[in-house]
Structures are given as structure tokens and as C-alpha cells.
Symmetry: C2
Subunit: 243 residues, 2 copies
DNA sequence: CGCAAGTTTTTTGTCGACATAAATACAAAT
DNA sequence: ATTTGTATTTATGTCGACAAAAAACTTGCG
């Protein structure tokens, strides 16, 4: 629920989303609204009434407006002067653009990570994939865990780049949109096994300290993900057309 | 001056920075503060007092705080809860990170632009370089014009990608930091002629519709720019150490 | 019955004032 | 003289109320 009293749901999110230790109300509102938008609790394109949201979050309109400005910067809401804010609509074009940017940024992160990550970190990454593999074998169709795990994998590589700007971009902005996209398409079976295989190849390239190869593999991996998502969107559109 | 009454100084900026036609005070504050920060009128690391700035800009603290949140998203200021906002400090690491992100994003923009730009647009790009060349021949050492022209060139390619997210990133966020960096290092002679040559190569690749090559050339171009900037920073640091 | 102009209502934009936390200045003690 | 504890000052965080713009509704006219 949007009106829940806790700010961060679990440790995973606490690690991925930067939560100022001493939060201001605007920061809390940003977190809560981002969560509500990503999970679809606030529908795409929905009008965001300032007074109503402030009421629900138990704060004045001042902090809320600051949060909306922040969310606008994260591309989670769109604002029109004198006409209010709406939840972003993830149409085909927007997602296509997002994946292109992601391909560029994650490719670069991967290239740098190949030279910057410690052996121990790369080893950890391999173990993450092991856990990941066991989870797939056990739960089978449950793709959700894979998705979160996948994002974890990608975020670890972003961290490995030691590039704060890349980490911000991939962690705080792109990441939210990605999760939002996942929430829409997660029910359909995803290509977990080929994805895992690609992850393993990437880790292998990192182990060899081959940045160029790691970048190439990551970019292919993301291109594949987009192709998969794109097909799901097509199916959805067909489904909607017939309905 | 910060207290100037006009919002946008010239048409070039009006084209590059997105100014909502019907601006709210927070948007105006964002523009003005961004300008003041980029030009160095507000020094790096300087504390930004809300009451004082609101006074100077002729508005209340509410809109100003929204602007600060926006500027934080643009990486132009850093905020610490309960401790206020400061102008970002462009140290070596930050700039290094910035150029890596820029290399990734502009490389991608260039790759896509090779398939998306119209012949007319590419021709225009060539003419832009012609004007650019004449300007260099005429003004010689005056690097400033080159810098702005260079940014123009890069922005035109970002537009050519037809990717709104790339345009936002490169146009509204990275771009400001870039200009800020330029204001610091513009007095030193820049590598105008090799840069122009590289620009020509990029246009040639675009004409051939060779996205891969265009990306490669753009990435090399930006790597070269970083190398140049990096050396200037080294010199500055040496100069400061002896002073 | 549809459309348009005017009116009411809602919602956004803005400001001023208060509460709270940080920074500062000062004083006393070791 | 330095440091620590306290008091004062300053600045940030927050709220409530007012003004202006947009949206919704009503009413009159073709």
C-alpha cells in the first residue's frame, strides 16, 4: 500500500536505492512514490493530485512538490506547468530509447569493470550466478526472482566500474524504469536460461580482464533483452486489439 | 550577473536548454542558477544559502528549493539533508567519470544517428563544420567560439539519434557540466584543428551510413578530448602547487 | 440537440511564518 | 592555551493560507 509506514521494503532495495540516512520528508516521498509507480500501484499516465498525495503521505504540499521534481528528473513522472504531474507512460518508443541508453551505459560499465573490479568481486559475481542458477532449477517458471537477481547482477557490474555517475544513472534512474517495465511483463515467461548463459560469458570475460569483449557481450545481452521485451509488447498490443 | 532580468542569453542556449514556454518560478530559478554555476559566477563548492538566493532571484524559498532539487538531479549541486546545498566540485575523478559516460552516450547517439538522420541533416552538419572552420581560420586563438560550436555539433548528433532520453541526458544534464568544465579550461589553447578533423571524419561516416564506424570515431574523439582536458588539469594542479 | 460563453470549482503556484536541527560563539575548567 | 560544554544564532525543513490558472459545470443561444 502507498500509505505503509515503513520506508524501505527490504535490504535489497536499501542497497540499490540510495536512501539518505537522515531522510527529509521530500526524500521519503520520493522513495514511496517511486515504489508505488514502479509496482504499478499508481497506474501509468495517472494524474497525480498534489493535495491528495500529500494527504496520503501525511505531509504538506511543499515536500511533495520537491519529490515530484526529483521524480521528474528520474523520468518517472512528467510535469506540465500549471497542469500537474502524471505517471510516465512506458510506450514502445520510450522503452526502446531506454534500452539503447542502457546498452551504452552498461556496456561502458562492463568495459571499465573488467579493469577495476578485484578478483574477489568477480568471484562473488560468479557465486551470485550460482545461486541464481539453483533458484531457476528449483523454482522453474518463477521469473520474478530471476528479474531481481538479474538487476542485482547488472548493478554489481555498475558498482565495479567505480564510476559514480554510471552508478547513479544505472542505479537510481534507469534502474527504476527497468523495474517498472519488469512489473508489466514479468508474468510472461522470460528467457532466463539464455540470459544466465550470457551472464556467465560476461563474468568469464571479466575474469580474463578483457574489457572490450565484456562490453560486447553486455551489449548483446541487453539487445537480446530488448528483443524479448519488444516481442512481449507486440503480443500485448495484439491482445488488446482483439479484446 | 545573477540578478539579470533576462532568462536566456542568446538563441543558441534557447535551443539547447529546454525552456518551458510557460515557465514557473522554479524553472526560471533552475535556468538562472544553472547559468551562474556553469559560468563560475557561483564558485565550485560554494555554499548556497536559500534565503539569500531567494532574495537575489526575487522569489520565495519554495520555488527555490524545487530548483535546487532539479539542479541536484543535473549534478550541478550536491545536497546534504539539514546541511544545505553546495555547488558541485569538478575534481579530476568527477570529470573522468563524466567523460566516460559521455563517451558511451555520444557513441551510441552517433551510431543511431547514422541510420536515423536525413541526408539534409547530415549536409547541414557538414555546413556547420564549414562555418566552424572559417571561424577558426579567422579568429585563430579564440577557442571559446570553437567550444560552443563543438557543443553544437555534438548536440545536433544527439538530436539525430531521435532518442529523447539520449537528448535529455546529453542536452540538459551532461551538457551543463561540460560547459562548466569548458569555462574553467577555455583560456588554454584547445586542440581545435584535430577536433575539427575528427568531426569531419564523423560526418563522413554518417554520410556513408556506417554506424559502427561513426560510433568508433566519436568515442575516440571524446577520449582525445578527455586526454587534452586531463593534461590541462595536471598543469593547473602543478601551477597551484607552486603558487 | 449541439455548441459556446460565462460561472463555479478545483488545482497548481507562491508566499510568509513557525519548528527544528546545525553551526557558531562564548565561557569555564583542566 | 586547548578543549569541552553550553547558550545563541543561523539556516533548513515544514506547514498553512492566499492568488492565479486550469478544469468542470451550468446556462443560454443557434
Amino acid at each position: 500500500m502507498l500509505g505503509c509506514t515503513h520506508i524501505v521494503d527490504n535490504k535489497k532495495e536499501a542497497m540499490l536505492i540510495s536512501v539518505p540516512p537522515q531522510s527529509t520528508l521530500a526524500d521519503i516521498a520520493t522513495q514511496r512514490l517511486a515504489h508505488s509507480i514502479v509496482t504499478g500501484e499508481l497506474a501509468q499516465g495517472q494524474k497525480l493530485n498534489e493535495a491528495e498525495l500529500a494527504e496520503r503521505l501525511g505531509m504538506g504540499r511543499g515536500p511533495l512538490r520537491e519529490a515530484l521534481r526529483h521524480l521528474e528528473g528520474m523520468h518517472l513522472v512528467t510535469r506540465i506547468p500549471n497542469a500537474g504531474a502524471r505517471v510516465v507512460v512506458l510506450d514502445r518508443k520510450t522503452l526502446s530509447d531506454l534500452y539503447a541508453v542502457r546498452e551504452a551505459l552498461e556496456g561502458m560499465a562492463c568495459r571499465i569493470a573488467a579493469t577495476q573490479m578485484t578478483d574477489a568481486e568477480i568471484e562473488q559475481l560468479g557465486k551470485l550466478l550460482d545461486r541464481h542458477e539453483r533458484q531457476i532449477a528449483k523454482e522453474g517458471g518463477k521469473v520474478y526472482a530471476q528479474s531481481e537477481g538479474d538487476l542485482d547482477f547488472h548493478y554489481q557490474i555498475a558498482r565495479g566500474s567505480r564510476n559514480q555517475m554510471l552508478m547513479d544513472q544505472l542505479g537510481n534512474e534507469q534502474y527504476q524504469l527497468l523495474r517498472m517495465c519488469r512489473y508489466r511483463t514479468s508474468r510472461k515467461a522470460a528467457r532466463t536460461k539464455p540470459a544466465l548463459q550470457q551472464h556467465r560469458q560476461i563474468v568469464a570475460a571479466l575474469e580474463q580482464r578483457d574489457g572490450e569483449l565484456a562490453e560486447l557481450l553486455m551489449r548483446r545481452h541487453i539487445q537480446g533483452a530488448w528483443k524479448s521485451i519488444s516481442e512481449m509488447i507486440d503480443q500485448e498490443e495484439v491482445g488488446q486489439a482483439s479484446a
